[in-house]
Amino acid sequence: MTAETAVGVARQFTSRTCQFTGLRVDVAAQNLIKANAVAAVVFLAIGGLMGLLVALTRWPAVHLLPAEWFYLVLTGHGANVLLFWIIFFEMAVLIFASTILLNARMVMPKLAWFAFILMVVGAVLGNVAVLQGESSVMFTSYPPMMAKPHFYLALILFAVGALIVVGQFFANLIVAKEEGAFQGSMPLVTFGALTAAIIAVWTILSGAAILIPTLMWSMGWLSDVDPLVYKVVWWGMGHASQQINVSAHVSLWYLVGALLLGAKPLSEKVSRTAFFLYILFLQLASAHHLLAEPGLSASWKIVNTSYMMYLAVLGSMIHGLTVPGSWEAAQRRNGYDKGMFEWLRKAPWGNPAFSGTFLSLVMFGFIGGISGVVLGTEQLNVLMHNTLYVPGHFHGTVVTGTTLAFMAATYLVLPLIFQREIIWPKLAKIQPYLFGIGAAGISLFMMGAGTLGVARRHWDITFSDAELNFAHSAGAFLMMGLNGVFAVIAALGGIIYVLVVVGTVLWGKKITSGHKLTFPLHAGGAAAASQYGSHATVKLPGTIVLIAIFFVSFVLYYFINWKYLSELWLFR
């Protein structure tokens, strides 16, 4: 303990030096990353399977599950993939960014193991509660609908565990700085992870503020929970937590660019400011879920839903340029300088870490980003509130964006952290494409169905058991069928991912010194790192074209929806 408290004295810790990056890897941190990554994949497998069952039930021609099971499985799908898979993986990212990337050690690894166990207990208990069948309240659990107490307790335990790890992330940073593990400012990827961690604190506290009273209500200790207050506070957790995902996966975009292409941020100032905008404004997004509610004023809605004049959206639009821009600059330095797009054509498309990251970047922007702004526009929301457009949008952000980025990063975690060579490289190569195409399909077709009025979380769009019948258009049925087809494609990609991860961890060839990776990193290595990247004056014609396409699509789609709105009945 004495060495630990003494300022400027580095404490000894068991570590190895990575032969590919030259980074010093704390073995305690490495084991924690492994544990969290494995837990993440387990819950992805469970939640992904549930997602497939949901999609097959909503495919009118298949209509797989009975209603009761459908609502149960849908509740489980949300909890397993949106919470457990993503947050376990983010714990691994936080530990990685605050230790290995800084050549630093994990502070109090035993506490992190305790937190891990707490999170596993929470996640398992949550699944038990859902599978028992009396907590089919959906991921959002809006009162006055009530789940069993252990459903809420499970979420609280999981969140407490996550909060502990977030605390350790801050501790790691402080100790690393004090012990002189790194010089100067922290790397950009760690800065992005810090953004995620800061938003996580806000998120988890919001969650506690609403889930603890809700648990007490479920126990019978409180007489009621106001449904509108619940939504305001719950979405302080529910939406802000999606911004943790954004910060985390944008950090990984930068990480993959650095490791695979030798990319350097065009300007540290711009990229970091973009992250900082997330911290300043993202927590306002609770309002996205309250635009169709009674009793909230228009000015409150406008200021909050737009993150105060869209300043957080601005952050994402900046990353949308700086990430591919830094890749283009790096590729041009790598010698692919011909024409507008040689840098992109000659990118390592066969490396799943790159292809997954690239697809994540493009689809997060085009599908998740644009639809999010439209959905979050005060008046336009009435067109899609609670329709399938909403899950369409967030599958664009959380599946094509976050999940695909995490999958891509896994192809670096396996060789570099687990030190196992990726088994079945041919399957690994096609995995991001399969999963990406499938996920893009479900996002787009759900958005299409939502635009045609199909409700989310709904077992039967033929309304065959309803007293007053109603029939959706043929187009809506077509969209739901296509959604089912693409869900199967995405599921194939998901299954391959799980197989490759499990196979590699169990049977992958152990990586020893002098090993050549199947999917190599950028040859420059760490030495060239800080010099490599952009020219003194940056010329990025390819990125400019991509950004222009994005911007035009954004503007057009935005106005198309105002056109739709203007055709509705009048209301004020």
């Binding site: 930068y254 009674p294 601005l314 509130h385 409700a455 709904h458 309304f463 109603f470 209301f571």
Partner: protein
């Protein structure tokens, strides 16, 4: 590199590349435009959600809707009263497990003060195929001035999950031409199909 500390320790003194600056300016202007367009729509648009709402006990709201339905009921459809309130008056609808009640018959081009609340759980009022979607809370009476612009038969679906019968929760609104008789209304209904 993004995984190494920045070359310049004081990174906020770095110059910004021109391409970045241009994009930031364009993106920022677009952000401002989108922000002010929401405000502008309150002046130029005809679709703005009313913030008018009142706290009310679910039982009190239920009573109000029942009185309203009794007063203006014109017929019955599958056990649900069809209510034709005077043009321009206050009209009421409630959501409950699992129906929208009662059925309304409105006139095209007339403005109604449309009251909406739930008497049990949260519901999602989704008027189809028009696609107007509103959240309905118990304990909050939402009042919207609503003007139907097209005639025909419209379905109301519930799009907030409300338990095992959620997918059977439907309702109906008929919109007739101004001062129209019964006959043309039926004709239009056929036409819509």
């Amino acid at each position: 590199m993004a995984i190494a500390p920045p070359e310049q320790r004081i990174w906020w003194r770095e110059p910004i590349e021109r391409v970045e600056l241009t994009w930031i300016v364009i993106a920022f202007l677009w952000a401002l435009f989108m922000f002010f367009f929401m405000i502008a729509w309150h002046f130029i648009g005809q679709q703005n959600l009313s913030p008018e709402a009142y706290r009310i006990l679910p039982s009190a709201y239920e009573q109000k809707v029942e009185e309203f339905a009794k007063k203006y009921q014109v017929r019955e459809e599958k056990g649900v009263p069809v209510v034709r309130p005077p043009a321009g008056s206050d009209v009421y609808m409630l959501g409950r497990l699992w129906q929208w009640w009662p059925i309304l018959e409105l006139e095209q081009g007339q403005s109604y003060r449309f009251h909406l609340s739930s008497i049990d759980w949260q519901h999602g009022f989704s008027l189809q195929p028009t696609n107007i979607n509103l959240q309905v809370h118990p304990g909050y009476e939402h009042v919207i001035t609503l003007t139907p612009t097209e005639t025909g038969q419209f379905g109301i679906v519930c799009n907030e999950f409300c338990g095992i019968g959620h997918h059977t929760m439907t309702g109906k609104i008929y919109v007739t031409q101004k001062k129209a008789e019964t006959a043309p209304r039926v004709a239009q209904k056929e036409e819509r199909r």
